[in-house]
């Protein structure tokens, strides 16, 4: 994709998922420099394998939303130098609200909402030094239309969206803007497994009868990151083939 980009250093949280890896490769082709985070040996392995042809054109760092000190280490390691933040981290806790374990509830929100607020604080302050920055949060249509059992996931997504959107509101005057992308059914990772499990009935609910591809997600994010997409601030872009537009 052709486009002009003001900043180059792009921190990608949840950097070992299929969507992040597809995006990272497109970014490198667009002369951006992805900094991918992982939280397990398996994640590091996925990054190493997928990014093998791009050695020297990206970095990978450990970040675990369950270990607060890893955030300090990450920001020290990248010298607080970043132009872009893309957040794919996507933990799930599937439970009916009335069945949920109390300790798990606390842990889930600490890791998926509070930790995100700490990241935004660090990233916002780092970007403020440059008076320029772009943040993209990858949410989900589940934030708007959860299924039974997705209450915690939806709550964390909506809370995280609210934090991101407020950053866009508060810091746009200093050149730091935010966009949220809400994909619907995506043919990658957990989404692909869900579609396989549920079969054709899932895609029949989508007006386009198709899942979103990871290439489409990467393409859209690159547009949002480009100088052309810069005006999209403090708002949600839904990319679901029309899934949530009707009954």
């Amino acid at each position: 994709m052709k486009g002009t980009f003001t900043g180059k250093r792009a921190l990608i949280l949840g950097g070992s998922c299929e969507l992040a890896l597809t995006l990272a490769q497109s970014m490198i082709e667009a002369s951006l420099y992805p900094i991918l985070t992982y939280r397990s040996d398996r994640g590091l392995q996925a990054i190493s394998e997928s990014m093998l042809p791009f050695a020297g054109r990206f970095e990978s760092h450990y970040l675990n939303f369950g270990e607060r000190e890893t955030l300090d280490t990450l920001f020290t390691d990248i010298a607080e130098d970043l132009d872009v933040l893309i957040d794919f981290v996507n933990d799930d806790y599937e439970s009916l609200v009335a069945s949920a374990d109390e300790d798990m509830t606390c842990r889930y929100f600490t890791e998926n909402v509070s930790f995100r607020a700490w990241i935004l604080k660090r990233a916002g302050r780092a970007m403020l030094k440059k008076r320029k920055g772009r943040l993209i949060y990858i949410s989900s249509t589940a934030a708007e239309r959860p299924n039974p059992g997705q209450g915690f996931y939806a709550a964390a997504k909506r809370a995280s969206e609210a934090l991101y959107l407020n950053m866009g509101l508060e810091m746009a005057g200093r050149g730091i803007t935010v966009a949220i992308l809400r994909p619907g059914y995506v043919n990658a990772g957990r989404g692909a497994a869900y579609i396989r499990r549920k079969g054709k009935a899932v895609l029949d609910k989508v007006p386009t009868n198709r899942a979103i591809t990871r290439e489409q997600i990467a393409h859209t994010i690159l547009f949002l990151l480009s100088d052309g997409g810069d005006g999209i601030n403090g708002t949600v872009v839904t990319m679901d083939g029309g899934l949530t537009s009707g009954k």
């Binding site: 916002g124 302050r125 403020l128 030094k129 508060e170 810091m171 005057g173 200093r174």
Partner: protein, 131 residues
């Protein structure tokens, strides 16, 4: 290092002040019209310039009124209670602020200077302890 002069320089740049009449008794919000986003930038700039940890709620006395009300609820003496929370403020300064909180934000440039001085001193002691 002249901490006041450094802070004055940062403020002149951030708030686009031309002929700066800033003194230690200048009010940051009332006189200079600093808004919350300016304070955030100032915190980042101070952290950057002096290489000290900056807690926004501390340096800008963000919880002063909250601590006053906590002291009252716990039937504690206000000044020592707040001195524990803001160890960089003198007791006289705490009394002065406490007496005037109803008039609006009381943050002065001297409070920033005192915060930076306190943090630099702490860092120096920590360095001495390490050696």
């Amino acid at each position: 290092m002249n901490i006041f002069a450094e802070i004055e320089k940062i403020l002149a740049e951030l708030l686009d002040l031309e002929d700066s009449d800033i003194t230690p008794d200048t009010y940051l919000i009332k006189d200079l019209g600093a808004e919350s986003i300016d304070l955030l930038e100032l915190a980042v700039a101070i952290n950057n310039r002096f290489k000290i940890p900056v807690k926004d709620d501390d340096i800008f006395l963000g919880c002063f009124r909250h601590y006053m009300s906590e002291a009252e609820q716990q039937m504690a003496d206000t000044v020592p209670y707040i001195a524990e929370k803001y160890p960089f403020l003198t007791k006289d300064r705490i009394k002065e602020i406490a007496a005037r909180t109803v008039e609006g934000p009381q943050l002065k440039i001297r409070d920033l200077v005192d915060y930076v001085t306190y943090q630099l001193e702490r860092a120096r002691h920590a360095g001495n302890d390490d050696s």
